[in-house]
């Protein structure tokens, strides 16, 4: 069902060190999975640090976590899940030879991406004005006069990890939005079709991975405990 433009696009994209288009697309997808494994280990170092310090300074982590906005965090989780749905449907549209639908779904994905970043910006702004950024200006208040901070020194480590982990995640979101934008532009020029859509599939893999990281970040950073720790 591919048009002649699409067939030409597919032929232009064939790289001749491969024996067939099939080999090329299987190899490309396997390559993207390999890259995602490196991303697992990359974030893994941060999760390991989190594990060590949560174990050692549990109270400090609880108190830091209680300053997180659970509603915004939960909404952001939902936003990312919706973006994964639209992304998966976008890949499917490419697979089914519906380029216009693909473009629409990818644009929706980008919208959700920006939504996530916008909410994150709001959260960051709040934490910044509350002096919850590590460094010489760090100053931690629980916000509850009846329960002053029990371990503010170590809560600075919690916030250090919060900023590093969510910041790295947000950076990956930005890159993801960039990649999906590239797909939209190429898709509008008819580059993708059922015979050639592996860039769409592979960017989809990356996008879902970024969602996956957040699925773990949310409970670990936002939902440690709601009880007063002290």
């Amino acid at each position: 069902m591919a048009t002649s433009t699409e067939i030409q696009a597919a032929e232009r994209s064939f790289q001749h060190h491969f024996a067939s288009m099939e080999q090329q697309r299987d190899t490309a997808t396997f390559g993207m999975w390999m890259f995602l494994l490196t991303e697992i280990m990359f974030f893994g170092g941060l999760f390991c640090s989190y594990l060590v310090y949560r174990h050692t300074y549990y109270t400090a982590f609880v108190e830091g976590s209680q300053k997180m906005n659970i509603i915004l965090g939960a909404i952001n989780t939902a936003v990312l899940i919706c973006s994964s749905l639209s992304m998966a449907m976008g890949v499917r549209a490419a697979q089914m030879g519906k380029p216009k639908l693909m473009v629409i779904l990818l644009l929706i994905t980008i919208l959700f991406g920006f939504g996530f970043l916008g909410i994150k910006a709001v959260e960051y702004h709040e934490h910044w004005t509350n002096h919850e950024f590590p460094g010489p200006n760090f100053h931690f208040e629980t916000g509850d006069p009846a329960h002053p901070p029990t371990d503010p020194t170590h809560t600075e480590i919690y916030f250090g990890l919060y900023w590093a982990m969510t910041g790295l995640h947000a950076l990956h979101m930005v890159i993801g939005i960039g990649l999906v934008t590239w797909l939209v532009l190429a898709g509008m020029r008819g580059a993708y079709s059922p015979i050639y859509y592996s860039p769409v599939e592979n960017v989809g893999l990356y996008w879902h991975f970024v969602d996956l990281v957040w699925i773990y970040l949310f409970p670990l950073l936002y939902l440690i405990s709601h009880k007063h720790a002290g």
């Binding site: 024996a19 067939s20 099939e22 080999q23 697309r25 299987d26 997808t29 396997f30 999975w33 390999m34 494994l37 697992i40 280990m41 893994g44 170092g45 999760f47 390991c48 594990l51 060590v52 174990h55 050692t56 659970i70 939960a74 989780t77 939902a78 899940i81 919706c82 994964s84 749905l85 992304m87 998966a88 449907m89 499917r92 697979q95 089914m96 592996s198 599939e201 989809g204 893999l205 879902h208 991975f209 969602d211 996956l212 699925i215 773990y216 949310f218 409970p219 670990l220 939902l223 440690i224 405990s225 709601h226 009880k227």
Partner: protein
């Protein structure tokens, strides 16, 4: 080895829309349960429940949104291997932190 795939793979297998929407719904419900469960006082099991739900959600994303269910076995092996090594990083590092307070010889 020739990579002529006569069987369906992640490129030829079309996932029905209903399955995608179903997974989406499960993920949304999972998020809700995660938040609600965090308010239950389960002590040490709070973290277990939270990670369990996150892992179930993650598995759904990986299997269906990322098409691992329809991908070559090699991809599955690769994913499981990396999780294994991540687990090694966590577990062996924690052998240090968990046992630091234990008694040593000479009564110290």
């Amino acid at each position: 080895m020739a990579q002529q795939q006569q069987h369906e793979d992640e490129y030829t297998h079309v996932v029905p829309v209903s399955l995608y929407v179903g997974i989406w719904a499960a993920l949304m419900v999972g998020t809700l349960i995660t938040v609600l469960a965090s308010f239950a006082e389960l002590g040490i099991f709070n973290i277990v429940v939270a990670l369990l739900i996150a892992t179930i959600k993650g598995t759904l994303v990986v299997l269906f949104f990322m098409h691992l269910r329809y991908s070559p076995k090699l991809t599955m092996v690769a994913v499981i291997s990396s999780i294994f090594f991540l687990f090694i990083l966590f577990a062996l590092t924690m052998t240090d932190y968990l046992s630091r307070g234990w008694a040593t010889f000479a009564g110290r």
